[in-house]
Assembly symmetry: C2
Protein backbone atom coordinates (compact mmCIF):
# COMPACT_ATOMS: atom_id res chain seq x y z
CA UNK A 1 0.00 0.00 0.00
CA UNK A 2 1.29 3.49 -0.90
CA UNK A 3 0.46 5.79 2.01
CA UNK A 4 0.63 9.60 2.32
CA UNK A 5 0.73 11.27 5.75
CA UNK A 6 -0.67 14.81 5.65
CA UNK A 7 0.21 16.81 8.75
CA UNK A 8 3.60 15.97 10.23
CA UNK A 9 2.98 16.76 13.87
CA UNK A 10 3.85 14.30 16.60
CA UNK A 11 0.97 11.96 15.76
CA UNK A 12 1.57 11.88 12.01
CA UNK A 13 5.32 11.43 12.41
CA UNK A 14 4.96 8.68 15.02
CA UNK A 15 2.46 6.47 13.22
CA UNK A 16 4.09 7.15 9.85
CA UNK A 17 7.49 6.12 11.22
CA UNK A 18 6.08 2.88 12.64
CA UNK A 19 4.41 2.05 9.32
CA UNK A 20 7.59 2.75 7.34
CA UNK A 21 9.63 0.62 9.74
CA UNK A 22 7.21 -2.26 9.11
CA UNK A 23 7.77 -1.98 5.35
CA UNK A 24 4.93 0.24 4.17
CA UNK A 25 5.81 2.84 1.52
CA UNK A 26 5.20 6.12 3.35
CA UNK A 27 5.36 9.69 2.02
CA UNK A 28 5.21 12.61 4.42
CA UNK A 29 4.02 16.13 3.63
CA UNK A 30 6.28 18.27 5.85
CA UNK A 31 6.85 21.89 6.69
CA UNK A 32 8.78 22.52 9.87
CA UNK A 33 10.71 19.22 9.86
CA UNK A 34 11.47 19.03 6.10
CA UNK A 35 15.10 20.23 6.10
CA UNK A 36 16.10 18.21 9.17
CA UNK A 37 14.48 15.00 7.90
CA UNK A 38 16.02 15.29 4.40
CA UNK A 39 19.43 15.84 6.02
CA UNK A 40 19.37 13.29 8.85
CA UNK A 41 16.21 11.21 8.65
CA UNK A 42 13.65 10.78 11.42
CA UNK A 43 14.48 9.87 15.04
CA UNK A 44 11.78 8.31 17.23
CA UNK A 45 12.23 8.15 21.01
CA UNK A 46 9.60 5.74 22.25
CA UNK A 47 8.63 3.92 25.42
CA UNK A 48 8.43 0.88 23.12
CA UNK A 49 12.06 1.33 21.99
CA UNK A 50 13.88 4.12 20.14
CA UNK A 51 14.62 3.84 16.43
CA UNK A 52 15.99 5.92 13.57
CA UNK A 53 14.85 6.03 9.93
CA UNK A 54 17.86 7.27 7.92
CA UNK A 55 15.90 7.83 4.71
CA UNK A 56 12.41 9.23 4.72
CA UNK A 57 10.23 10.30 1.78
CA UNK A 58 9.65 13.91 2.75
CA UNK A 59 7.91 16.36 0.41
CA UNK A 60 6.92 19.98 0.44
CA UNK A 61 3.77 19.65 -1.69
CA UNK A 62 1.12 17.00 -2.22
CA UNK A 63 1.69 17.22 -6.00
CA UNK A 64 5.23 15.88 -5.51
CA UNK A 65 3.90 12.88 -3.57
CA UNK A 66 1.56 11.81 -6.36
CA UNK A 67 -1.25 9.28 -6.02
CA UNK A 68 -1.72 7.26 -2.82
CA UNK A 69 -3.81 4.21 -1.88
CA UNK A 70 -4.35 5.65 1.60
CA UNK A 71 -4.16 9.26 2.83
CA UNK A 72 -3.67 9.59 6.59
CA UNK A 73 -4.91 13.02 7.69
CA UNK A 74 -3.09 14.16 10.84
CA UNK A 75 -3.64 17.92 10.51
CA UNK A 76 -4.65 20.06 13.45
CA UNK A 77 -8.38 20.53 12.98
CA UNK A 78 -8.20 24.30 12.56
CA UNK A 79 -6.33 23.57 9.28
CA UNK A 80 -9.30 21.62 7.89
CA UNK A 81 -10.06 24.35 5.37
CA UNK A 82 -6.91 23.13 3.57
CA UNK A 83 -8.38 19.65 2.93
CA UNK A 84 -9.10 20.22 -0.76
CA UNK A 85 -5.74 21.81 -1.54
CA UNK A 86 -3.67 19.22 0.35
CA UNK A 87 -5.57 16.00 -0.35
CA UNK A 88 -6.99 16.32 -3.91
CA UNK A 89 -3.61 15.80 -5.66
CA UNK A 90 -3.20 12.46 -3.83
CA UNK A 91 -6.47 10.83 -4.84
CA UNK A 92 -7.27 8.21 -7.44
CA UNK A 93 -10.73 6.69 -7.77
CA UNK A 94 -10.20 4.06 -5.06
CA UNK A 95 -7.98 5.99 -2.60
CA UNK A 96 -9.05 5.81 1.03
CA UNK A 97 -8.83 8.75 3.44
CA UNK A 98 -8.25 8.15 7.15
CA UNK A 99 -8.69 11.04 9.60
CA UNK A 100 -6.74 10.57 12.84
CA UNK A 101 -7.73 14.05 14.00
CA UNK A 102 -9.29 15.20 17.25
CA UNK A 103 -12.92 15.86 18.00
CA UNK A 104 -15.97 15.85 15.79
CA UNK A 105 -16.78 16.95 12.28
CA UNK A 106 -13.63 15.83 10.44
CA UNK A 107 -15.12 12.84 8.62
CA UNK A 108 -18.18 14.91 7.75
CA UNK A 109 -16.02 17.66 6.26
CA UNK A 110 -13.89 15.13 4.33
CA UNK A 111 -17.02 13.37 3.05
CA UNK A 112 -18.44 16.68 1.82
CA UNK A 113 -15.38 17.28 -0.34
CA UNK A 114 -14.28 13.79 -1.39
CA UNK A 115 -17.37 11.54 -1.00
CA UNK A 116 -18.48 9.55 2.03
CA UNK A 117 -17.58 6.00 0.94
CA UNK A 118 -13.82 6.44 1.02
CA UNK A 119 -13.70 8.05 4.48
CA UNK A 120 -12.43 6.20 7.56
CA UNK A 121 -12.20 7.73 11.00
CA UNK A 122 -9.62 6.79 13.60
CA UNK A 123 -9.70 7.62 17.30
CA UNK A 124 -6.11 7.63 18.53
CA UNK A 125 -5.11 7.36 22.18
CA UNK A 126 -1.54 8.56 21.95
CA UNK A 127 0.76 10.53 24.24
CA UNK A 128 3.42 12.10 22.05
CA UNK A 129 5.26 15.36 21.49
CA UNK A 130 7.45 16.80 18.79
CA UNK A 131 11.03 17.47 19.79
CA UNK A 132 13.50 19.48 17.72
CA UNK A 133 12.99 19.16 13.94
CA UNK A 134 13.44 15.55 12.86
CA UNK A 135 12.65 14.14 16.31
CA UNK A 136 9.41 12.77 17.77
CA UNK A 137 8.83 11.61 21.35
CA UNK A 138 6.36 8.83 22.09
CA UNK A 139 5.48 9.01 25.80
CA UNK A 140 2.96 6.21 26.06
CA UNK A 141 -0.18 4.52 24.74
CA UNK A 142 -0.90 4.58 21.00
CA UNK A 143 -4.07 2.52 20.54
CA UNK A 144 -6.22 3.32 17.52
CA UNK A 145 -9.90 2.51 16.97
CA UNK A 146 -10.92 2.61 13.30
CA UNK A 147 -14.41 2.88 11.88
CA UNK A 148 -15.95 3.63 8.50
CA UNK A 149 -17.88 6.88 8.09
CA UNK A 150 -20.52 4.89 6.15
CA UNK A 151 -20.60 1.10 6.35
CA UNK A 152 -19.48 -0.79 3.22
CA UNK A 153 -19.53 -4.48 2.50
CA UNK A 154 -15.88 -4.88 1.62
CA UNK A 155 -12.61 -5.38 3.47
CA UNK A 156 -11.19 -1.83 3.20
CA UNK A 157 -11.41 -1.18 6.93
CA UNK A 158 -9.80 -4.52 7.78
CA UNK A 159 -6.92 -3.92 5.35
CA UNK A 160 -6.08 -0.57 7.00
CA UNK A 161 -6.41 -2.06 10.46
CA UNK A 162 -4.16 -4.97 9.50
CA UNK A 163 -1.53 -2.54 8.23
CA UNK A 164 -1.41 -0.72 11.57
CA UNK A 165 -1.47 -3.99 13.47
CA UNK A 166 1.58 -5.28 11.57
CA UNK A 167 3.46 -2.09 12.45
CA UNK A 168 2.98 -2.82 16.16
CA UNK A 169 0.01 -0.54 16.83
CA UNK A 170 -2.83 -1.86 18.99
CA UNK A 171 -5.48 -1.28 16.32
CA UNK A 172 -9.11 -2.35 16.53
CA UNK A 173 -12.14 -1.71 14.38
CA UNK A 174 -15.61 -0.63 15.41
CA UNK A 175 -18.93 -0.57 13.61
CA UNK A 176 -19.88 2.56 15.61
CA UNK A 177 -17.32 5.26 14.87
CA UNK A 178 -19.67 7.90 16.26
CA UNK A 179 -19.71 6.21 19.66
CA UNK A 180 -15.90 5.91 19.70
CA UNK A 181 -15.58 9.62 18.92
CA UNK A 182 -18.02 10.60 21.70
CA UNK A 183 -16.32 8.24 24.18
CA UNK A 184 -13.04 9.99 23.54
CA UNK A 185 -14.76 13.37 24.02
CA UNK A 186 -15.91 12.23 27.48
CA UNK A 187 -12.22 12.39 28.39
CA UNK A 188 -11.03 15.12 26.06
CA UNK A 189 -13.56 17.80 26.93
CA UNK A 190 -13.05 17.97 30.71
CA UNK A 191 -9.35 17.22 30.85
CA UNK A 192 -8.09 19.09 27.80
CA UNK A 193 -10.42 21.93 28.71
CA UNK A 194 -9.72 22.27 32.43
CA UNK A 195 -5.98 21.59 32.16
CA UNK A 196 -5.60 24.13 29.36
CA UNK A 197 -7.74 26.74 31.13
CA UNK A 198 -6.12 26.33 34.55
CA UNK A 199 -2.68 25.34 33.25
CA UNK A 200 -2.68 22.45 35.68
CA UNK A 201 -1.96 18.78 34.92
CA UNK A 202 -4.76 16.23 35.33
CA UNK A 203 -3.60 15.05 38.78
CA UNK A 204 -3.94 18.61 40.16
CA UNK A 205 -7.39 18.97 38.60
CA UNK A 206 -8.50 15.72 40.23
CA UNK A 207 -6.95 16.51 43.63
CA UNK A 208 -9.75 18.89 44.70
CA UNK A 209 -13.15 17.31 45.51
CA UNK A 210 -15.22 20.19 44.05
CA UNK A 211 -13.23 20.02 40.82
CA UNK A 212 -13.58 16.20 40.62
CA UNK A 213 -17.32 16.80 40.92
CA UNK A 214 -17.15 19.36 38.09
CA UNK A 215 -15.25 16.85 35.92
CA UNK A 216 -18.02 14.30 36.53
CA UNK A 217 -20.75 16.84 35.71
CA UNK A 218 -19.00 17.78 32.46
CA UNK A 219 -18.55 14.09 31.52
CA UNK A 220 -22.26 13.46 32.13
CA UNK A 221 -23.21 16.37 29.87
CA UNK A 222 -21.04 14.85 27.11
CA UNK A 223 -22.51 11.37 27.61
CA UNK A 224 -26.09 12.66 27.44
CA UNK A 225 -25.33 14.65 24.27
CA UNK A 226 -23.53 11.66 22.74
CA UNK A 227 -26.36 9.26 23.50
CA UNK A 228 -28.79 11.75 21.91
CA UNK A 229 -26.98 11.22 18.57
CA UNK A 230 -28.42 7.73 18.07
CA UNK A 231 -25.47 5.47 18.85
CA UNK A 232 -25.71 1.70 18.30
CA UNK A 233 -25.70 1.38 22.10
CA UNK A 234 -25.72 4.08 24.75
CA UNK A 235 -22.58 5.09 26.62
CA UNK A 236 -23.43 4.09 30.23
CA UNK A 237 -23.18 6.64 33.04
CA UNK A 238 -20.65 4.44 34.82
CA UNK A 239 -18.22 5.21 31.97
CA UNK A 240 -17.56 8.36 34.05
CA UNK A 241 -16.11 6.26 36.87
CA UNK A 242 -13.84 4.28 34.58
CA UNK A 243 -12.53 7.47 32.91
CA UNK A 244 -11.80 9.03 36.31
CA UNK A 245 -10.05 5.88 37.56
CA UNK A 246 -8.07 5.74 34.32
CA UNK A 247 -6.99 9.37 34.76
CA UNK A 248 -6.11 8.94 38.44
CA UNK A 249 -3.62 6.32 37.22
CA UNK A 250 -2.01 8.65 34.67
CA UNK A 251 -0.21 10.64 37.36
CA UNK A 252 1.28 14.00 36.36
CA UNK A 253 -0.03 14.20 32.80
CA UNK A 254 -0.47 17.32 30.67
CA UNK A 255 -3.15 16.96 27.98
CA UNK A 256 -2.19 18.17 24.52
CA UNK A 257 -4.34 21.29 24.76
CA UNK A 258 -2.50 22.36 27.93
CA UNK A 259 0.81 21.98 26.09
CA UNK A 260 -0.59 23.82 23.07
CA UNK A 261 -1.56 26.73 25.32
CA UNK A 262 1.79 26.72 27.13
CA UNK A 263 3.59 26.86 23.80
CA UNK A 264 1.31 29.56 22.41
CA UNK A 265 -0.25 27.37 19.69
CA UNK A 266 -3.83 27.65 18.53
CA UNK A 267 -6.25 25.44 20.50
CA UNK A 268 -8.58 22.92 18.80
CA UNK A 269 -11.68 24.43 20.42
CA UNK A 270 -13.83 24.00 17.31
CA UNK A 271 -13.51 20.23 16.85
CA UNK A 272 -13.30 19.33 20.55
CA UNK A 273 -15.91 21.78 21.92
CA UNK A 274 -17.95 23.83 19.45
CA UNK A 275 -18.89 21.03 17.04
CA UNK A 276 -19.96 18.66 19.87
CA UNK A 277 -21.95 21.57 21.37
CA UNK A 278 -23.64 22.12 18.02
CA UNK A 279 -24.41 18.39 17.57
CA UNK A 280 -25.77 18.32 21.13
CA UNK A 281 -27.94 21.40 20.58
CA UNK A 282 -29.35 19.88 17.37
CA UNK A 283 -30.64 16.97 19.48
CA UNK A 284 -31.86 19.19 22.34
CA UNK A 285 -29.04 18.23 24.73
CA UNK A 286 -28.07 21.20 26.91
CA UNK A 287 -24.38 21.34 27.87
CA UNK A 288 -24.09 24.48 30.03
CA UNK A 289 -20.77 23.55 31.64
CA UNK A 290 -19.18 22.43 28.37
CA UNK A 291 -20.31 25.66 26.74
CA UNK A 292 -18.92 27.74 29.62
CA UNK A 293 -15.60 25.89 29.38
CA UNK A 294 -15.45 26.48 25.60
CA UNK A 295 -16.20 30.17 26.10
CA UNK A 296 -13.53 30.53 28.78
CA UNK A 297 -10.95 28.77 26.58
CA UNK A 298 -11.78 31.04 23.66
CA UNK A 299 -11.44 34.02 25.96
CA UNK A 300 -7.87 32.95 26.82
CA UNK A 301 -7.07 33.24 23.10
CA UNK A 302 -8.03 36.94 22.88
CA UNK A 303 -5.56 39.76 23.22
CA UNK B 1 -19.71 59.80 67.57
CA UNK B 2 -16.61 57.79 68.46
CA UNK B 3 -15.90 55.40 65.57
CA UNK B 4 -13.51 52.45 65.28
CA UNK B 5 -12.44 51.15 61.86
CA UNK B 6 -11.47 47.48 61.98
CA UNK B 7 -9.58 46.38 58.88
CA UNK B 8 -7.37 49.06 57.38
CA UNK B 9 -7.40 48.01 53.74
CA UNK B 10 -8.16 50.51 50.99
CA UNK B 11 -11.86 50.68 51.86
CA UNK B 12 -11.42 51.14 55.60
CA UNK B 13 -8.67 53.72 55.18
CA UNK B 14 -10.60 55.69 52.56
CA UNK B 15 -13.93 56.00 54.35
CA UNK B 16 -12.21 56.44 57.74
CA UNK B 17 -10.08 59.28 56.33
CA UNK B 18 -13.13 61.04 54.89
CA UNK B 19 -14.96 60.73 58.22
CA UNK B 20 -11.97 62.06 60.19
CA UNK B 21 -11.62 64.98 57.76
CA UNK B 22 -15.28 65.87 58.40
CA UNK B 23 -14.65 66.00 62.15
CA UNK B 24 -15.62 62.53 63.36
CA UNK B 25 -13.36 60.97 66.02
CA UNK B 26 -11.92 57.95 64.21
CA UNK B 27 -9.66 55.20 65.56
CA UNK B 28 -8.03 52.73 63.15
CA UNK B 29 -6.90 49.21 63.96
CA UNK B 30 -3.82 48.81 61.74
CA UNK B 31 -1.22 46.23 60.90
CA UNK B 32 0.71 46.86 57.71
CA UNK B 33 0.27 50.68 57.70
CA UNK B 34 0.77 51.32 61.46
CA UNK B 35 4.41 52.49 61.45
CA UNK B 36 4.03 54.69 58.36
CA UNK B 37 0.82 56.31 59.62
CA UNK B 38 2.22 57.03 63.12
CA UNK B 39 5.30 58.57 61.49
CA UNK B 40 3.74 60.58 58.64
CA UNK B 41 -0.04 60.38 58.84
CA UNK B 42 -2.36 59.19 56.09
CA UNK B 43 -2.25 60.40 52.47
CA UNK B 44 -5.35 60.03 50.28
CA UNK B 45 -5.09 60.41 46.51
CA UNK B 46 -8.63 60.78 45.27
CA UNK B 47 -10.49 61.64 42.09
CA UNK B 48 -12.44 63.99 44.38
CA UNK B 49 -9.26 65.80 45.48
CA UNK B 50 -6.14 64.65 47.34
CA UNK B 51 -5.70 65.32 51.05
CA UNK B 52 -3.37 64.49 53.92
CA UNK B 53 -4.21 63.74 57.56
CA UNK B 54 -1.04 64.54 59.56
CA UNK B 55 -2.31 62.97 62.79
CA UNK B 56 -4.27 59.73 62.81
CA UNK B 57 -5.38 57.60 65.75
CA UNK B 58 -3.69 54.35 64.80
CA UNK B 59 -3.65 51.36 67.16
CA UNK B 60 -2.28 47.86 67.14
CA UNK B 61 -5.02 46.27 69.29
CA UNK B 62 -8.72 46.84 69.85
CA UNK B 63 -8.11 47.04 73.62
CA UNK B 64 -6.07 50.20 73.09
CA UNK B 65 -8.92 51.79 71.14
CA UNK B 66 -11.43 51.29 73.94
CA UNK B 67 -15.21 51.64 73.62
CA UNK B 68 -16.79 52.98 70.41
CA UNK B 69 -20.26 54.17 69.46
CA UNK B 70 -19.86 52.66 66.00
CA UNK B 71 -17.57 49.88 64.79
CA UNK B 72 -16.99 49.88 61.03
CA UNK B 73 -15.93 46.39 59.96
CA UNK B 74 -13.81 46.53 56.80
CA UNK B 75 -12.01 43.20 57.15
CA UNK B 76 -11.53 40.85 54.23
CA UNK B 77 -14.26 38.25 54.73
CA UNK B 78 -11.85 35.35 55.18
CA UNK B 79 -10.79 37.06 58.43
CA UNK B 80 -14.35 36.87 59.83
CA UNK B 81 -13.33 34.25 62.37
CA UNK B 82 -11.52 37.11 64.14
CA UNK B 83 -14.78 39.03 64.76
CA UNK B 84 -15.00 38.16 68.47
CA UNK B 85 -11.36 38.89 69.22
CA UNK B 86 -11.24 42.19 67.31
CA UNK B 87 -14.69 43.65 68.03
CA UNK B 88 -15.63 42.58 71.59
CA UNK B 89 -13.23 45.01 73.32
CA UNK B 90 -14.89 47.92 71.46
CA UNK B 91 -18.48 47.29 72.47
CA UNK B 92 -20.67 48.94 75.09
CA UNK B 93 -24.35 48.12 75.40
CA UNK B 94 -25.49 50.52 72.69
CA UNK B 95 -22.58 50.28 70.22
CA UNK B 96 -23.55 49.76 66.60
CA UNK B 97 -21.62 47.51 64.21
CA UNK B 98 -21.53 48.31 60.48
CA UNK B 99 -20.15 45.72 58.06
CA UNK B 100 -18.88 47.23 54.82
CA UNK B 101 -17.59 43.85 53.68
CA UNK B 102 -18.16 41.98 50.44
CA UNK B 103 -20.68 39.27 49.70
CA UNK B 104 -23.13 37.49 51.93
CA UNK B 105 -23.12 36.14 55.45
CA UNK B 106 -21.28 38.92 57.27
CA UNK B 107 -24.26 40.46 59.08
CA UNK B 108 -25.47 36.97 59.97
CA UNK B 109 -22.10 36.06 61.47
CA UNK B 110 -21.90 39.36 63.38
CA UNK B 111 -25.46 38.93 64.66
CA UNK B 112 -24.62 35.43 65.92
CA UNK B 113 -21.81 36.80 68.06
CA UNK B 114 -23.01 40.26 69.08
CA UNK B 115 -26.82 40.23 68.72
CA UNK B 116 -28.89 41.14 65.66
CA UNK B 117 -30.28 44.52 66.73
CA UNK B 118 -27.02 46.41 66.65
CA UNK B 119 -25.96 45.17 63.19
CA UNK B 120 -26.04 47.40 60.11
CA UNK B 121 -24.95 46.29 56.67
CA UNK B 122 -23.45 48.56 54.05
CA UNK B 123 -23.01 47.83 50.38
CA UNK B 124 -20.13 49.95 49.12
CA UNK B 125 -19.49 50.75 45.46
CA UNK B 126 -15.92 51.90 45.67
CA UNK B 127 -12.90 51.69 43.38
CA UNK B 128 -9.83 52.01 45.54
CA UNK B 129 -6.39 50.48 46.12
CA UNK B 130 -3.78 50.62 48.81
CA UNK B 131 -0.51 52.20 47.78
CA UNK B 132 2.69 52.07 49.83
CA UNK B 133 2.09 52.06 53.62
CA UNK B 134 0.30 55.23 54.68
CA UNK B 135 -1.18 55.87 51.22
CA UNK B 136 -4.59 55.04 49.78
CA UNK B 137 -5.76 55.62 46.20
CA UNK B 138 -9.41 56.37 45.47
CA UNK B 139 -10.00 55.68 41.76
CA UNK B 140 -13.71 56.44 41.52
CA UNK B 141 -17.24 55.94 42.85
CA UNK B 142 -17.76 55.46 46.60
CA UNK B 143 -21.53 55.27 47.07
CA UNK B 144 -22.78 53.36 50.11
CA UNK B 145 -26.23 51.83 50.68
CA UNK B 146 -26.98 51.15 54.35
CA UNK B 147 -29.61 48.86 55.79
CA UNK B 148 -30.42 47.35 59.17
CA UNK B 149 -30.02 43.61 59.60
CA UNK B 150 -33.33 43.65 61.53
CA UNK B 151 -35.64 46.65 61.33
CA UNK B 152 -35.86 48.85 64.44
CA UNK B 153 -38.11 51.81 65.15
CA UNK B 154 -35.40 54.28 66.01
CA UNK B 155 -33.07 56.63 64.16
CA UNK B 156 -29.82 54.61 64.44
CA UNK B 157 -29.61 53.93 60.70
CA UNK B 158 -30.31 57.56 59.82
CA UNK B 159 -27.64 58.81 62.22
CA UNK B 160 -24.97 56.63 60.59
CA UNK B 161 -26.12 57.60 57.12
CA UNK B 162 -26.04 61.30 58.05
CA UNK B 163 -22.48 60.92 59.34
CA UNK B 164 -21.31 59.49 55.99
CA UNK B 165 -23.30 62.08 54.07
CA UNK B 166 -21.62 64.94 55.95
CA UNK B 167 -18.19 63.49 55.07
CA UNK B 168 -19.04 63.77 51.36
CA UNK B 169 -20.06 60.17 50.74
CA UNK B 170 -23.15 59.53 48.59
CA UNK B 171 -24.91 57.48 51.28
CA UNK B 172 -28.48 56.18 51.09
CA UNK B 173 -30.54 53.88 53.25
CA UNK B 174 -32.67 50.94 52.23
CA UNK B 175 -35.31 48.92 54.05
CA UNK B 176 -34.21 45.83 52.07
CA UNK B 177 -30.54 45.20 52.83
CA UNK B 178 -30.85 41.66 51.45
CA UNK B 179 -31.89 42.99 48.04
CA UNK B 180 -29.01 45.51 48.00
CA UNK B 181 -26.53 42.70 48.78
CA UNK B 182 -27.91 40.47 46.01
CA UNK B 183 -27.94 43.35 43.53
CA UNK B 184 -24.27 43.90 44.16
CA UNK B 185 -23.63 40.17 43.70
CA UNK B 186 -25.22 40.39 40.25
CA UNK B 187 -22.17 42.46 39.33
CA UNK B 188 -19.58 40.98 41.68
CA UNK B 189 -20.02 37.32 40.81
CA UNK B 190 -19.50 37.49 37.03
CA UNK B 191 -16.97 40.30 36.89
CA UNK B 192 -14.85 39.55 39.94
CA UNK B 193 -15.03 35.87 39.02
CA UNK B 194 -14.26 36.01 35.31
CA UNK B 195 -11.67 38.79 35.58
CA UNK B 196 -9.84 36.98 38.38
CA UNK B 197 -10.01 33.61 36.60
CA UNK B 198 -8.95 34.89 33.19
CA UNK B 199 -6.76 37.73 34.49
CA UNK B 200 -8.49 40.07 32.07
CA UNK B 201 -10.09 43.44 32.81
CA UNK B 202 -13.88 43.83 32.41
CA UNK B 203 -13.65 45.47 28.97
CA UNK B 204 -11.81 42.41 27.58
CA UNK B 205 -14.35 40.07 29.15
CA UNK B 206 -17.18 42.02 27.50
CA UNK B 207 -15.46 42.31 24.11
CA UNK B 208 -16.30 38.72 23.03
CA UNK B 209 -19.97 37.99 22.23
CA UNK B 210 -19.91 34.44 23.69
CA UNK B 211 -18.41 35.75 26.92
CA UNK B 212 -20.97 38.60 27.11
CA UNK B 213 -23.62 35.89 26.81
CA UNK B 214 -21.96 33.94 29.63
CA UNK B 215 -21.94 37.09 31.80
CA UNK B 216 -25.68 37.49 31.20
CA UNK B 217 -26.36 33.82 32.02
CA UNK B 218 -24.40 34.11 35.26
CA UNK B 219 -26.23 37.33 36.21
CA UNK B 220 -29.59 35.65 35.60
CA UNK B 221 -28.62 32.73 37.86
CA UNK B 222 -27.80 35.24 40.61
CA UNK B 223 -31.04 37.18 40.11
CA UNK B 224 -33.14 33.99 40.28
CA UNK B 225 -31.36 32.85 43.46
CA UNK B 226 -31.70 36.32 44.99
CA UNK B 227 -35.40 36.56 44.22
CA UNK B 228 -35.87 33.13 45.82
CA UNK B 229 -34.73 34.64 49.14
CA UNK B 230 -37.98 36.57 49.63
CA UNK B 231 -36.96 40.15 48.85
CA UNK B 232 -39.41 43.03 49.39
CA UNK B 233 -39.56 43.30 45.60
CA UNK B 234 -37.95 41.09 42.94
CA UNK B 235 -34.84 42.16 41.08
CA UNK B 236 -36.11 42.46 37.48
CA UNK B 237 -34.37 40.55 34.67
CA UNK B 238 -33.66 43.84 32.90
CA UNK B 239 -31.26 44.65 35.74
CA UNK B 240 -28.84 42.52 33.67
CA UNK B 241 -28.92 45.07 30.84
CA UNK B 242 -28.29 48.02 33.14
CA UNK B 243 -25.33 46.24 34.81
CA UNK B 244 -23.80 45.42 31.41
CA UNK B 245 -24.29 48.98 30.15
CA UNK B 246 -22.79 50.26 33.40
CA UNK B 247 -19.75 48.01 32.96
CA UNK B 248 -19.29 48.88 29.29
CA UNK B 249 -18.86 52.47 30.50
CA UNK B 250 -16.17 51.55 33.06
CA UNK B 251 -13.53 51.05 30.37
CA UNK B 252 -10.33 49.22 31.37
CA UNK B 253 -11.27 48.28 34.93
CA UNK B 254 -9.79 45.50 37.06
CA UNK B 255 -12.16 44.20 39.76
CA UNK B 256 -10.66 43.80 43.21
CA UNK B 257 -10.53 40.01 42.98
CA UNK B 258 -8.42 40.24 39.82
CA UNK B 259 -5.99 42.53 41.65
CA UNK B 260 -6.01 40.22 44.68
CA UNK B 261 -5.05 37.29 42.44
CA UNK B 262 -2.37 39.29 40.61
CA UNK B 263 -0.84 40.24 43.94
CA UNK B 264 -1.06 36.73 45.34
CA UNK B 265 -3.62 37.56 48.05
CA UNK B 266 -6.35 35.21 49.21
CA UNK B 267 -9.61 35.55 47.24
CA UNK B 268 -12.98 36.20 48.92
CA UNK B 269 -14.58 33.14 47.32
CA UNK B 270 -16.55 32.21 50.43
CA UNK B 271 -18.55 35.43 50.88
CA UNK B 272 -18.92 36.26 47.18
CA UNK B 273 -19.53 32.72 45.82
CA UNK B 274 -19.96 29.89 48.29
CA UNK B 275 -22.38 31.58 50.70
CA UNK B 276 -24.65 32.83 47.88
CA UNK B 277 -24.52 29.31 46.37
CA UNK B 278 -25.54 27.87 49.74
CA UNK B 279 -28.38 30.40 50.17
CA UNK B 280 -29.52 29.65 46.62
CA UNK B 281 -29.43 25.88 47.16
CA UNK B 282 -31.46 26.24 50.37
CA UNK B 283 -34.23 27.82 48.25
CA UNK B 284 -33.90 25.33 45.39
CA UNK B 285 -32.21 27.77 43.00
CA UNK B 286 -29.66 25.97 40.81
CA UNK B 287 -26.61 28.04 39.87
CA UNK B 288 -24.49 25.69 37.71
CA UNK B 289 -22.38 28.40 36.09
CA UNK B 290 -21.78 30.26 39.37
CA UNK B 291 -20.75 26.99 41.00
CA UNK B 292 -18.40 26.16 38.12
CA UNK B 293 -16.84 29.61 38.36
CA UNK B 294 -16.36 29.23 42.14
CA UNK B 295 -14.77 25.82 41.64
CA UNK B 296 -12.41 27.11 38.95
CA UNK B 297 -11.39 30.06 41.16
CA UNK B 298 -10.70 27.76 44.09
CA UNK B 299 -8.65 25.55 41.79
CA UNK B 300 -6.42 28.53 40.95
CA UNK B 301 -5.61 28.78 44.65
CA UNK B 302 -4.19 25.24 44.87
CA UNK B 303 -0.51 24.45 44.54
Amino acid sequence: MRVAVIGAGALGLYYGALLQKSGVEIHFLMRRDYDAVVRSGLQVYSTNGDFHLPKVNAWRTSEEIGKADLVIVALKTFANDCYRELISPLLKSDSLILSLQNGLGNEEALADVFGAERIIGGVAFLCSNRGEPGVVHHLGAGRIILGEFVRRNNDQLERVSEMFHKSGVDCRTTDDLKRARWEKLVWNIPFNGLSALLQQSVDRVLAVPATRKLVREIMLEVIIAGNAQGLNSDIPEKFVDSMIDFTDNMGVYKPSMQIDREEGRELEIGAIFRTPLQYGAEKGAAMPRVEMLATLLEQTQTR
